[in-house]
Symmetry: C2
Subunit: 546 residues, 2 copies
């Protein structure tokens, strides 16, 4: 340790020092130093988070970027560990985004329980790789158990089913991924492969490729249907998997902002009439990224069942609502899905990043099996045989531990608080004359926009052309409100684009709040709205809205 702590002026990389950083220190003094560093990490960062009420220091990106232009790697050590930690606390943290602030309600990233830092540290200290049993042992077994627990939460089969599959090395109830994007990709990958049965010389799309699959099955087009509010990872998956992202077909939403079933059925009929087109999957959303809205899952399940189409539910956001006895009914129908994605770093409040995808059929993942000779051999229990990703950390240990510490009831309390606070927030918005609520929130996401008094008056009598002109002005105003508030650094809401009325043929800028931090309360939400009102007052004179 003495070696590492010496003056930075004389820092050199030498063999003995390097060996020492691999061996954890034996003497009490060195141990104390290392623990002191952790104290700084836990509470030095904490002091910043507390002092720094707002979300981000006022420093322009351009100015910031100017400080990070040196592209040569230093040959000799530049800093001692202590100084690296100090610099992160003093220089990096204040210029990072305080996502833990209760005033940060713009994105699906929020405060996490403090014990998550401990659990992540444990994961790093063990440094297991769950791709294979030889680098994980008990962690692979534990991962299979937590996968079964989550599967049961979603699909709720009987005890016999779970006893058969929980530690079955031949079957697989789901897999951990690095996030919702690869979880959704994995689900569509399985759906794609299921679609193309072997035929004559054609073995599978996985071996023979997309082109040969289409020829063998005499098809010209394969599509995926999803509400317009579907996450952009589906378009990306469409591109990656070879469908073509224009074949991920967005279906309009109805006045509830969930998928319009009439239009969906029309589309299915249209494609059904074309023998050269097939539908690979229909996606239902359980908590849309922008609105939190849940699609009518039972009806989607009926449709998929009737037509024999793979039914995927993207519950990356809403999945943990299943832990709330009070609100799990909102996700009714999810148990009829063929596959379900859930993110761990969202409403399971885990650190970045971890996702999961589950399949009703324990054999479904056989569609994407890969072996090799040095790991993941045939018949082995290696978890990496059926995952998109290769090496993976044991995030399952964090989820397992967190459920032990909080129980499903602990998660439920947070979920319920978010839903109920969002409801109160929406009522406040409706009461304030300068605000327009877009939709009553179903979960904990609220969208709204600001409308200055005189524009509100003009809107009352405006025809379609005039309304469109006024909406463009409002787009400008709301964009500027969001930017000004973000740059002021006290609080943060995000913005997106939605139709105000289902009949509109254009999207309008709206503000978007995600209420997931248990420290965010009605009084803070009122402060955020107050700030927006005062920003509006300041920018109004400069706005050309005659």
């Amino acid at each position: 340790m003495a070696q590492i702590q010496k003056d930075s002026a004389s820092l050199v990389a030498d063999w003995e020092t390097l060996r020492r950083i691999f061996i954890r220190p034996e003497d009490d003094n060195s141990k104390k130093v290392l623990v002191k560093y952790m104290e700084q990490i836990l509470f030095g960062l904490h002091d910043f988070l507390n002092k720094h009420v707002g979300v981000t220091e006022e420093i322009s990106l351009i100015k910031l970027a100017e400080e990070y232009t040196d592209t040569k790697i230093n040959k000799n050590p530049q800093k001692k560990l202590a100084n690296v930690i100090k610099d992160i606390i003093d220089e990096i943290a204040p210029r990072a985004v305080n996502v833990a602030s209760p005033y940060f309600i713009g994105h699906m990233t929020s405060a996490i329980p403090f014990f998550m830092v401990h659990l992540k540290a444990i994961t790093a200290a063990l440094n297991q790789n769950v791709i294979k049993i030889e680098t994980s042992k008990v962690l692979s077994v534990l991962e299979k158990q937590i996968l079964a627990k989550m599967h049961r939460m979603i699909f709720n089969f009987d005890e016999t089913f779970y006893l058969e599959h929980v530690q079955n090395t031949e079957t697989c109830l789901g897999v951990f991924t690095t996030g919702g994007t690869t979880a959704n990709l994995t689900a569509l990958w399985v759906a794609r492969n299921k679609l193309f049965a072997p035929k004559d010389d054609f073995k599978s799309i996985e071996t023979d490729g997309f082109y040969q699959a289409m020829k063998a099955h005499d098809l010209e087009r394969v599509v995926i249907l999803i509400s317009k509010r579907g996450h952009f990872s589906f378009r990306k998956a469409g591109g990656v998997l070879g469908f073509g992202n224009q074949n991920v077909i967005p279906i309009d939403v109805d006045e509830t902002r969930s998928i319009d079933l009439v239009k969906l059925k029309k589309k299915i009929k249209e494609f059904g009439a074309d023998k050269k087109t097939k539908i690979a999957a229909i996606v239902g959303i359980a908590g849309a990224t922008e609105t939190g809205i849940i699609d009518p899952l039972p009806q989607l399940a009926d449709i998929c069942q009737k037509h024999g189409i793979h039914f995927h539910v993207d519950a990356a956001w809403g999945g943990p609502v299943l832990l709330s006895e009070k609100y799990s009914h909102l996700l009714k129908g999810i148990e009829r899905a063929d596959s379900v994605s859930i993110d761990c770093h969202k409403q399971f409040y885990m650190p970045m990043t971890a996702g999961m995808v589950y399949f009703k059929d324990p054999k479904a993942l056989d569609q994407i099996v890969y072996h090799s000779s040095y790991v993941n051999r045939r018949g082995s229990v290696d978890l990496g045989i059926k995952t998109l990703e290769g090496s993976r950390e044991a995030n399952s240990l964090i989820l397992d531990s967190s459920l032990k510490i909080m129980g499903s009831r602990g998660y439920a309390l947070m979920i319920e608080y978010g839903i109920e606070t969002a409801r109160q927030f929406s009522e406040i918005i409706e009461k304030r004359p300068l605000f327009q609520l877009l939709t009553k929130p179903q979960l904990n996401i609220v969208t709204y926009r600001m409308i200055p008094e005189n524009i509100r008056e003009q809107l009352k009598t405006a025809d379609e052309i005039e309304r469109r002109r006024l909406d463009a002005i409002l787009d400008d105003i709301n964009t500027r409100i969001q930017r000004t508030q973000r740059e002021a650094g006290k609080s943060f809401v995000s913005r997106t684009q939605l139709k105000i009325n289902t009949t509109d043929d254009y999207d309008t800028v709206v503000l978007r709040c995600v209420i997931m931090n248990p420290m965010t309360n009605v009084s803070i939400l009122n402060e955020i709205l107050d700030e927006q009102e005062s920003i509006l007052k300041n920018i109004l004179p400069a706005t050309p809205f005659q």
Copy 2:
């Protein structure tokens, strides 16, 4: 805190406790408790790692699995944080794999410097999401800087180039991924998209899909060429991206165990003669997973240049060798690649999991751009616009900090130690009469097998048929040696299958060692060989090899 520490018998999830676990504690006593937990994580696990010299406790998987069959989620909290940590230290860790042991030389997972646990804890505590600037700010800027540093390490353009691109929001020198698998997938994704230029109604393979792309370009088959020793992620990428994994064509290796250039050229000629077939990419390996062998990169670069084919180098393993002035020449030619993958959790000694992929052309990643309206808007600096993955933790901060602490020289010392120890190890193997070295190691991976004396005698005069019979016996012996040693739990080497002679038409079981832990030394390696000799002695009487 008091709330959390109460007796587990009375653990309930209540709102006040939950709020408190989000607010880091204010009073000194609570702080002390939290730091004490970190001490347990750092040194409790450490004590296990020290006491437990071997790699894994002797408990059968089946017995272990029996303990993890409860699939119901507990409603109320089961354990306090302190007990969760204690249980992990007492029950999970001893049944995990001690990948940090210097006797664990079987896989590319090893000890990591102790400061990595601190850095991972910082990443979790900040919990930034670098998908977008709004949840990362300075971390996105810092990530762009470290990407430029790595790009420079590989491609070594001039200062003007890097000043232009380091913080350029229009260009992208590379991206962080969650590992080598998605890094390789991203490279082939870009190569695939580049291949299909717009034509008449056809816009791109990304929008229109693989089938339309093939039709527009009048093709029947698109292939990727790679040495037989290529990582299995390439076959997987072939399947995912729609090429079909049988179109990832394995080319035999020559007597150096690197790609056979004669056979490669023959294959290119063969495909070139077929107007309906195109080569999307040729992959060169810089450190094969099983053998550590580096393909002849300059020659591959020549071939790719001549035929206008995308040249990808998989340097997931070998990439950091570039930091060694002594051995970087081994990777000569890598600077002529179109894309290069490097893993962070391998020879950058970072915790699981992080990878990177770099592109020579700063516009190459434009092939896979995805936008959305709530994040990653057009013209924004959001890093998530050009990545396969969505949400991502700031692993760049760990790499940046580690380079500051150790310098390139620090990494170089470790790389050089591994290469030189592997060389010594191979010499020892050659001297021991019961062992057969497969190839002289180029990097730090050594493959060999054991041959009992009498079989060695028989091999001297054996014809092809007899040799094959004896090799089958040796396969059985070496498989059993590897298993027995693993189960004994003192040390761990892995096994894979390679051809003994290039002319063989069958693979043979070999033992495989990866020398990356700086605590692994010649004396330990001798112990491991001694143990294998004594295992051989024990199993020989039971082996039917007359």
